[in-house]
Symmetry: C2
Subunit: 280 residues, 2 copies
């Protein structure tokens, strides 16, 4: 499991790296970024996983996320994977921004022509954690996860499926119930087929209805987000959490939209939330 360093820059006292490797899950080269904060030699640090939204690569949050100052202060490693396989893979290009390239939805596809390469669930929950643990000073017992939009969906479903692994899970503008919204129905049909039972493991609201639990959630959305009402539907997750008695902090932020101007504004809040749970 070797990795190639694409770039490595000192930032806020630590090191921001971008790396490439050959993924067994996706069958392609994959790029990801890792920020390692200043730390003592031999220290093992908590690691925060950040999953990105539609059309994004690792680069969007790495450049615009404003996470490094907080990660340096709090001693957090921050990992940002890509959102799909890239390169010459079957089914690509789909011609859509919300399906295929840049839109893997954090599932293992079962449908042709995506089944071989679109394995972002296994990539993000198995392959990449092993790779990160073997190359960076992480404490695998202290992991947490967050994400934006499609990546918020990924963070919530992965956390609900691995409550023993992640000590915190938060989201910016997540797609909370993909089975019930256009982006999600398109992607889950395309990757997993028509059997809606198979979708439930990849729908945070359905997972909670089916008994999955997590200690607590923080979710921020902007009230000027053009996708809020049709695609994100935070009220469905809020209601599922309330019914299941999962403690949750849901905030509707006035005047904010779906962009990284929103994400970067509340990033420090989220990282403090993570640090409090990772260090408890």
């Amino acid at each position: 499991m070797s990795i190639e360093t694409v770039s490595l820059n000192r930032s806020h006292g630590g090191m921001q790296g971008v790396y490439k490797h050959s993924s067994r899950e996706t069958g392609t080269g994959m790029t990801f970024s890792v920020y390692v904060p200043p730390h003592q030699d031999e220290a093992k640090l908590p690691v925060v996983w950040y999953l990105s939204g539609l059309t994004c690569t690792h680069a969007n949050v790495t450049e615009k996320g404003e996470f490094r100052r907080s990660c340096a202060e709090l001693g957090l490693i921050f990992v940002a994977p890509d959102t799909s396989p890239r390169g010459n893979v079957p089914g690509d290009p789909t011609g859509a921004y919300d399906f295929g390239l840049g839109a893997g939805f954090y599932v293992d596809a079962t449908q042709p022509p995506f089944a071989r390469n679109y394995r972002m669930w296994s990539y993000v929950t198995k392959e990449l954690p092993e790779l990160i643990a073997s190359h960076f000073p992480v404490d695998p017992k202290r992991q947490s996860i967050l994400g934006h939009s499609m990546g918020g969906h990924g963070a919530l479903t992965i956390a609900l499926s691995h409550p023993e692994r992640y000590r915190a899970a938060t989201a910016f503008s997540p797609i909370t119930a993909p089975s019930q919204v256009p982006w999600g129905i398109k992607a889950l049909t395309g990757y997993l087929g028509d059997n809606r039972e198979a979708w439930r493991k990849h729908d945070a609201v359905a997972l909670i209805e089916d008994g999955a639990r997590f200690p607590d959630f923080l979710v921020d959305c902007g009230d000027a987000d053009p996708f809020l009402v049709e695609q994100l539907r935070p009220e469905l997750l809020e209601s599922a959490c309330a019914k299941a008695r999962i403690p949750h902090t849901f905030r509707l932020q006035s005047g904010y939209d779906h962009s990284y101007y929103f994400v970067s504004t509340f990033m420090a809040d989220h990282l403090r939330w993570h640090a409090a749970r990772l260090k408890a």
Copy 2:
């Protein structure tokens, strides 16, 4: 003097805008960004000018500069102009990254074919300040300036030429003595011609030697900056300041390079320096 809004996003409690206008100085459309922090109605706020480096537009610092959190806390408007005229102008493209497009060097060119359009000195010191004052809640008596690399050169030379206007001037990795380094010699020859006397108004070290003064300077450079020794030469400015008894804080930051990973790390420090002098 009308402006067109390209984008407007809430960020850190204020509004980050990108705007276009038709410039009389450059004879082209010009794009710039303005961050307005949260403020009381009718308040007039101090304004910080940020000049960017080679190859950059307004977008680099706007996306990667990590200035908004500090500007929101300190109540500073932050303006980022472009670095050259863009569009169908004579002399463009030059085929170089360090001359012509994206490389205006903050001078008014006197040489053909650049003289009509490459008027970044007048654009940044006259036209754009008037435009900003007429469209945004700025207090023109409280202005300051900073920049990166070629923009650090711009900030230092503009501050030294207008000590009555700018209350603070700082720079990241500035080209301190363009008359003495390859980037500067190429640009000043191309824009201003062979007469080196005409260059002295656009060389911070020469300006100080010729009697220009400023209350104090803060300059940060990275010791892993590949341009430090040949192009930036901060020691020449440090020595000129010492000789002229201009108070100066020059810092060589260990492990940092020339990128926005460096700029963003120390942006908050610089903005605090500016705020202290803008509010005194």
